[in-house]
Symmetry: D2
Subunit: 364 residues, 4 copies
Amino acid sequence: MQKNQEPVYYGDYLQLDKLLAAQAPHSSRYGETAHDETLFIIVHQVYELWFKQVLHELGSVMDTFSEQEVKDQQLTTVVHRLRRIITIQELMNDQIGVMETMTPQEFLTFRDYLIPASGFQSIQFKRLEISLGLKRDYRIDFDKQSFYQRLEEQDRHYLEKLENRPSLFELVESWLERMPLLEFGDFKFWELYNSAATAMLAEDEQTVQSNQTLNEKQRETELEGIEQTKGVFNALLDDKEYKKLQQKDELRLSQRAMLSSLFICQYQEEPLFNLPYQLITCLTEIDEKLTIWRYRHAMMVQRMLGSKIGTGGSSGHEYLKRTTESNRIFKDFFNMSTFLLPKKALPDLPQEVRESLGFHLSRV
Amino acid sequence: MQKNQEPVYYGDYLQLDKLLAAQAPHSSRYGETAHDETLFIIVHQVYELWFKQVLHELGSVMDTFSEQEVKDQQLTTVVHRLRRIITIQELMNDQIGVMETMTPQEFLTFRDYLIPASGFQSIQFKRLEISLGLKRDYRIDFDKQSFYQRLEEQDRHYLEKLENRPSLFELVESWLERMPLLEFGDFKFWELYNSAATAMLAEDEQTVQSNQTLNEKQRETELEGIEQTKGVFNALLDDKEYKKLQQKDELRLSQRAMLSSLFICQYQEEPLFNLPYQLITCLTEIDEKLTIWRYRHAMMVQRMLGSKIGTGGSSGHEYLKRTTESNRIFKDFFNMSTFLLPKKALPDLPQEVRESLGFHLSRV
Amino acid sequence: MQKNQEPVYYGDYLQLDKLLAAQAPHSSRYGETAHDETLFIIVHQVYELWFKQVLHELGSVMDTFSEQEVKDQQLTTVVHRLRRIITIQELMNDQIGVMETMTPQEFLTFRDYLIPASGFQSIQFKRLEISLGLKRDYRIDFDKQSFYQRLEEQDRHYLEKLENRPSLFELVESWLERMPLLEFGDFKFWELYNSAATAMLAEDEQTVQSNQTLNEKQRETELEGIEQTKGVFNALLDDKEYKKLQQKDELRLSQRAMLSSLFICQYQEEPLFNLPYQLITCLTEIDEKLTIWRYRHAMMVQRMLGSKIGTGGSSGHEYLKRTTESNRIFKDFFNMSTFLLPKKALPDLPQEVRESLGFHLSRV
Amino acid sequence: MQKNQEPVYYGDYLQLDKLLAAQAPHSSRYGETAHDETLFIIVHQVYELWFKQVLHELGSVMDTFSEQEVKDQQLTTVVHRLRRIITIQELMNDQIGVMETMTPQEFLTFRDYLIPASGFQSIQFKRLEISLGLKRDYRIDFDKQSFYQRLEEQDRHYLEKLENRPSLFELVESWLERMPLLEFGDFKFWELYNSAATAMLAEDEQTVQSNQTLNEKQRETELEGIEQTKGVFNALLDDKEYKKLQQKDELRLSQRAMLSSLFICQYQEEPLFNLPYQLITCLTEIDEKLTIWRYRHAMMVQRMLGSKIGTGGSSGHEYLKRTTESNRIFKDFFNMSTFLLPKKALPDLPQEVRESLGFHLSRV
């Protein structure tokens, strides 16, 4: 308790007078109030409150990664807050089921009054996308145009400024690049990885060659598969090949950040890698949950409107579905398993590396 | 589209300027803003928005049952809206998981600044309880006192007035009593039920008597069980016994409403009973979900505070847990299966009764 | 209790000796047992148990619709069982989260031992798809080939026979066609619909013409939208246009079944339409949940394998994602809102039609 | 791929022939098969499969804690597997909703055939309880008796043997006691905690004394609250007081284990404490989810049976509800916040202690 602290009343603290007076159905303006417009308003308002919360957490995480040094203790907090975002996302995904309790016919009683408002105008949602790392270039045309044709000028300017600031993607990428882990004296992670991969594939090749249960065609297919895998592993370690993949937008992270991530994923049980591994997992899940939200949202729009055009003029669900692929940010983490080697193909780390990745104090 | 309808902008429509400015952490008043107070505020605000929506649906359902006659078409709408409430309740129950992403230690950084605010002061939540049918008398002492000691005067008056208006429980009870279904000419449901119950128990008794696999003790136990069941069935049909059960608060519905409910439940596949059966099921589930919410909420409070005293002075979770039982409304529906007879013990309804419960047009 | 009924023991009843002995990790055959293979087996076994349950419900629903006449009481049961399927689907969708607790690296410890087993070989899942109405022709090539290349002969034969039996889609379509609802004496639903649609569009046109807030370009866009809607409504009522849409696979239901569905959806609050409307809604949701399952499953596979090739030789997630669109069955119900008119554009039904759609007994 | 590895077929791998043939409704023995008995069987079988999985994870965690030394890398795995248990528990809790799609009347069609089978006879569930740390003494009488009266002899013996082996509770308690963290040279955690607690309470007292907004009665209440808190903190540090609390079963963990837990919780952002803190959180959540399952299960039983007696002779739901409290294991962790001090009341740890809790390598 603080000196002379005033007693607090629940309703005042939460500003319920404002909050609960902010639902004004437009149908009332043109005749009988549509019963279900309240649901429509409240569902969207709840989304906006959750967006605010998610941006609050995201902002604090970005502040941390903007610093030159991220302390171990801070990383605990970062992971904790990203987990909270994921929990909120799960709720937001299920919330689509609440909107779906509105039948298409109920929606028809008021949708015309909302023209041309559209969810594409949610500034907080666009802010979320941009903060995570969605670039204008990744957006499909329809979504790009929404900046120019649907946003009020000050909103557009605000978002355009935001697009020029480093995103979480870039901050994490740069933090991964800075990690002094890929080399310790003689030890170089990529050498270890390269020789482990080569050995494994050689063994696989031999097994296929000597397997009596395969017919000629199957053997060929298997060998082709191995060749293909060689190519994939090679691309990761070869500068030029890596650049090509980046140009085709098949990879976005820099090569060095990618190698750091791979090292972390392959040896995630080492104490020093534990939190970074959780960080990578969290970012993957945030992307995954967001994608599921987009997909479910697109389905809901289709169910509500059929092939009708949305209140904002879009033929809605087709565009929305396309954004599930185009608007993904951390897809490199999502595809990380392309490059993963099985545990048994990996050597133990050299003793001094292992120690470097451990605690001062060893546990009992 | 309406004549000269003004174009609508997403953020204006949802009044986001108000909504997103309504989060003012109190920790800021006494020093550094606590990062997690925003979560605390937003979680509670989202709850209040959902309460508003639930009350919106509940109000419309109560309006319908306040009319002398409830049309069949209206009953469709009633069930639809009650289902929506249930869907929202599921979300509200899961939302406790979001609050639980706040560690007890994070809560400690600002909880003292909120004294003596308390969730007991949520007027919308108390309105919900009262509208459903929670009487002052059912409340445990601690919860009763919250009316006098924690509410501002105008809030208390508002709720006291509400307590004198008919609740959903009473409206539905009276609608069930009015249903002209229990008697059709010679047919009386309670006679059918009574003879079916008597016959079933007589057969059970005979089976037990002749079952060779039972020893004497088991046989006695089984026979006692049958006697007990006789008593239960009898209480339902005997005015005086029924009153006794009401006085012990083991039953709340009037005898006639209870018999109507039982008829509906036993023959729920008849077309005319379909929507009433869904109504009964919905009310049961609303009660069940609310109870689960109370229970999870009590657990969360315990985890957050341990045996510490809540910001409002309550030692929280113990009281909260006790309300899970005391504050249930439709427990008669919940216990309905006490009186249910198995399908095979029931006779088919007489032809003319069956027809009366059907459609004009028979389906093909 | 039955005469001389034997006492039942929990573990015997559930055949736990068989059930809990049916998990044999293949990794044990080639060295150290992989801890996580048990999860992989059990998750799939649980899916297969749920599939069995879903097929059990689906089978009983199909039996009902195979009869010449579907009684009103049976329809209650049909809807109840479809709802159960939906509840199980929700659980199955969330179950993907359990599989995702296995990291890609954990999967790598045993996935090679399972070659070439694949989820494409789940006979129960294919049975589910076929029973709902998935035709060989709708499947993408990759999925089609799985019949010939991956199934054992007796499984393939079993499914091919099943493909020749009427599916739920066809049974429901034929039931909708048989409904004697579209005409009552002078009343013809399509005439009512046609004139209501025409009147609404004429009014819309006039509003757009006279709206002063629109500039020339906006007016043109709006008018084009109205023309397009006219075309859509027309296609529904014109035999030739309807056939064209069917040939393009934009519609699958027969014209008569489609009109019945539309009538039901537009006047769903009429008692006789209540259960049919719920039936349509349930089938829509089953399709929606299945689609979401496919989508989440595809994401999970991508996360687990990256762009690696699956144990069955497929490059997995791309194919899986494509099936989310191709394998939908009841998409006509999903798109129904394309044709829906707002309530206020619809006239009240003539008194005698309304009565025909009501109960013998009117409710009070 | 392994040398001469045999190709694997999905159905064989999962032993679907056994699995899908293990559903034999008992209703078939006495007349017409009850449609819904299949659901009853499958729901229980799925639970048993999940129990097997949970026990598989739990067993591996207990093996780890049975070793004299728990390596840091192992702790990562422990937390990962406990999280998997929690994810499965969430699914199991939602699965009650599937059982609830069976109406009480549907259950009545076959329940008599199952007498006296009962969920109390699930050996895996009892094994789970015992492995976590549920002692015979904690069980309510009804549950205790189930061992002697309802279990077959070999099952009872198996469980009784298990009761004599160290449980997870005891293994974790002993691991916490062994942690060499409470003292580092001059630093003693309990001294730090004691002086911080004393200082905080003294300040609180002064604030209350000087707060002008409080009336005499409020001041008294506040001061009493502070006295009470003093007692609570004291009990933790005083051997005798601590023993008293243990005798009243208000605390179960040893004093030393409790202090270690508290140290971890208060300074959980320190790298070395990160995994132990996650461990404590996981155990708390496992307990919480299990309690919620018990509660929802009790509600479901009540809804299904009313106040009727269960198939096993129990009047079910009352007993079940009582086990939600009696059968909790890690309630000390659950109540940990009773003893937590706010961050600002805690001093920074001495530099050398902090270093000892950090990594060899500091992160950038």
